[in-house]
């Protein structure tokens, strides 16, 4: 699992014995200690560590919640309330898990915007990036399944809407739908299945995260200048420099998390989900969790059901084609004066789509959703290819050090120790 020669030298006899049989210590050493990190990384690059922390938080709180949760249509709602009321610190576990999911998405959206803004998807990092898109897809599935588990009104009707969407898929749609339902409507078997799948998918996420880190290990990190590491001075070792920065950023992000968890635990949810699921009563507005709203707006922008479903899934899948849709050879938007503006407009359109997704699908909202949906796809299909062809990029700095200090000036400190010039430095 190594794209680079490890610089790890085992010292004790036991360590030597072990390393010659399973070089896992060397692997961790070369991935998280000696790994060369571009010295100009800004705080956007700390979100990988933040995401890893949240994957851990979600898995730990989730395993504990599963010990008390009862996956059945009659018992789910009350068992969640039992957790809230009678399990020791059950309220903490549940609110941490529910708000942790939201924070996970906040972090992943920052991480994704970073990748798009600084061109982290371009060669040689296409596979690294596509693995990221797969993780995002798995996260969405996991979050949706998790939201159905408390079996409140939004859980039930959200499950109904989404499974009906899947039925629109030609040929296999009905089969997929009845497989998920376990019957002829959303009901007791559905909760059971969703719980099983909700427990399964995080481990798949963890698996793809390992591949994601592996691919990162091979290609090295992109950086705000978007140029490769050229000498030892351009890089610093991961530990302690990136480690301490990641830990600092993670702790700061935890303040935001703690704020929601302890003081606004239901702010990001929906009041209707505290009403037990009732197939006979439809809520006035069925709205998904905030992190799905942009895609919900795209789904509802199209009058045709199948067309809406296709567009909604395309909106995610199109991300995976970014490496080939973008024709510019410059990675970082810092050196792309025109595309850079489109990037911010794109971000604005995404926010707007999110807000439109929370509004009722009528009148002006639908028209606005259609305009924004068109722009969303135009960004990938028109702006990305055309900007690369017509834009005159600004001159790139000679090196990462130069991008920091300006041309011709020196920087103090050694950077990477001599001889530690591992493969990522020349590949990026």
């Amino acid at each position: 699992m190594s794209g680079t020669a490890s610089t790890y030298v085992p010292k004790s006899r036991v360590a030597k014995w072990f390393e010659s049989r399973l070089p896992i210590v060397g692997l961790v050493h070369s991935s998280f200690i000696a790994y060369p990190v571009p010295r100009n990384l800004n705080y956007f690059w700390t979100f990988g560590a933040i995401l890893a922390a949240f994957l851990g938080i979600q898995i730990i709180t989730g395993v504990w919640l599963a010990m008390h949760y009862e996956p059945s249509a009659t018992g789910a709602f009350n068992s969640v309330e039992k957790i809230m009321r009678d399990v020791n610190y059950g309220w903490l576990l549940r609110y941490a898990h529910a708000n942790g999911a939201s924070m996970f998405f906040v972090a992943v959206y920052v991480h994704m915007f970073r990748a798009l803004y600084y061109g982290s998807y371009k060669a040689p990092r296409e596979v690294l990036y596509i693995l990221g898109v797969i993780i995002y897809l798995l996260m969405m599935a996991t979050a949706f399944l998790g939201y159905t588990l408390p079996w409140g009104q939004m859980s039930f009707w959200g499950a109904t809407v989404i499974t009906n969407i899947l039925a629109a898929i030609p040929v296999v749609g009905d089969t997929i739908q009845s497989l998920l339902w376990g019957g002829y409507s959303v009901g007791n078997p559905t909760v059971n299945r969703f719980f099983s799948l909700h427990y399964l998918l995080p481990w798949m996420i963890a698996g793809v995260v390992v591949l994601h880190v592996w691919a990162l290990h091979v290609t090295g990190q992109n950086n705000p200048a978007g140029i490769p590491i050229k000498s030892g001075k351009d890089a610093v070792p991961f530990t302690p420099y990136a480690t301490v920065k990641d830990v600092f950023a993670t702790v700061v992000f935890m303040i935001l998390f703690a704020w929601f968890l302890f003081f606004m635990p239901n702010y990001l949810g929906h009041a209707d989900n505290y009403i037990q699921a009732n197939p006979a009563v439809t809520p006035a507005h069925i709205v998904p969790e905030w992190y799905f709203l942009p895609f919900y707006a795209i789904l509802r922008a199209v009058p045709d059901k199948l067309g809406g479903v296709i567009l909604m899934f395309s909106a995610v899948i199109i991300l995976a084609f970014a490496p080939w849709l973008d024709t510019s050879r410059i990675r970082s938007c810092n050196y792309r004066p025109i595309y850079r503006q489109f990037m911010w407009v794109f971000l604005g359109v995404c926010f707007l789509l999110g807000w439109l997704g929370s509004q009722p699908p009528e009148g002006g909202y639908v028209i606005a959703s259609q305009i924004c949906t068109a722009y969303y796809f135009a960004h990938f299909l028109l702006v990305m290819p055309l900007c690369g062809l017509f834009e005159t990029p600004k001159p790139l700095p000679g090196s990462i050090v130069e991008s920091v200090t300006g041309p011709g000036r020196q920087i103090s400190g050694a950077g990477m120790p001599a001889g530690a010039a591992a493969a990522p430095q020349v590949k990026g």
């Binding site: 309220w91 920065k245 303040i255 302890f262 003081f263 505290y274 604005g348 439109l356």
Partner: protein, 302 residues
């Protein structure tokens, strides 16, 4: 360069038009009066439940609401909880014993009735939802266990932008709605078609509510102070506040623990992040300092 400026200005203007244009339409759909904001003792970072108020609120629930509304998830023992009504154990034991609870089957296979115990949940007023619906004009009165978290209202389209912020934030829609609803019974406007058996309520979605005005001034007798006067006015306004606070507690019995722990956690995280900031600065000083944020150097030329 000029062209890109024009481009971004045009797009910004288009977006602003969308943002400003859409809410104007939304007023028609979601408009309507918003329940007034009550100055709750439990709101905000340092909010605490007022024990006396929770006890009065429980009295209102017990004497008035519980005739129709169940509270199936709350146990008698919860009433002794600190950070709750905090009744004494003996008070609650005596209270529970006044209820008849269905238990069984016993050794001979029969169900039987016995006096309630603190570990029991509040017995519902109707044996099942169908019976509740049949006795109440076709619709079962909702359970009250989490009602304060299950009700909300919209104050406009963009309040979500600041409702989560410290000090200006607002998360008490639930109890405000309850207080508003109890005091929201008004005569229907002349052109309003009120169906048979319906009542006009200012804050109920659609304004037609099946529940008749649930409580009136002086209906519940509150404890008296030294001079023989009620500690708080025996008015619908006050009943609404007290029962709103009680139902918030019933929905969120650990709120005070949560806020107390949260304050300590956030304080800890702020101190820890301060220390980590300086550790990071010291570490990075070895390699000539770190590059910050969005790299102003890169933006100067632009």
């Amino acid at each position: 360069m000029a062209m890109t400026r024009v481009l971004s200005t045009t797009l910004a203007a288009a977006m602003a038009a969308l943002l400003l244009g859409a809410p104007a339409r939304a007023e028609d759909a979601h408009g309507g009066p918003v329940p007034p904001r009550v100055n709750w003792s439990f709101a905000g970072m340092f909010g605490r439940f007022d024990e006396a108020q929770l006890q009065r609120g429980f009295q209102v629930y017990k004497e008035v609401c519980s005739a129709c509304h169940s509270m199936k998830l709350v146990s008698f023992r919860n009433l002794t909880q600190e950070g709750g009504p905090h009744f004494s154990a003996s008070q609650v034991k005596a209270l529970a014993a006044t209820y008849q609870v269905k238990d069984g089957p016993n050794d001979s296979g029969d169900m039987f009735e016995r006096p309630g115990r603190p570990a029991d949940t509040f017995p519902p007023p109707f044996p099942n939802d169908q019976a509740a619906a049949a006795a109440n004009g076709g619709k079962a009165p909702p359970d009250f266990s989490v009602i304060a978290k299950a009700r909300t209202f919209s104050r406009g389209n963009l309040t979500f932008l600041y409702d989560w912020l410290p000090f200006v934030g607002y998360t008490e829609q639930g109890p405000d709605y309850i207080h508003g609803l109890i005091n929201g019974y008004k005569d229907a406007p002349k052109d309003f078609a009120l169906p048979e058996g319906g009542h006009y309520n200012l804050y109920y979605p659609g304004h037609i509510i099946a529940m008749p005005p649930p409580i009136s001034d002086g209906q519940v007798t509150y404890p008296k102070d030294d001079k023989g006067q009620p500690v708080v006015p025996e008015t619908t306004e006050q009943y609404g506040k007290d029962v709103g606070a009680f139902l918030m507690w019933a929905a969120e019995p650990h709120m005070m623990d949560r806020k107390a722990l949260g304050f300590r956690v956030i304080l800890f995280l702020i101190i820890l992040s301060g220390l980590l900031y300086y550790v990071k600065k010291k570490v990075w000083a070895d390699v000539g300092g770190e590059v910050h944020g969005l790299q102003p150097e890169l933006h100067k030329a632009w």
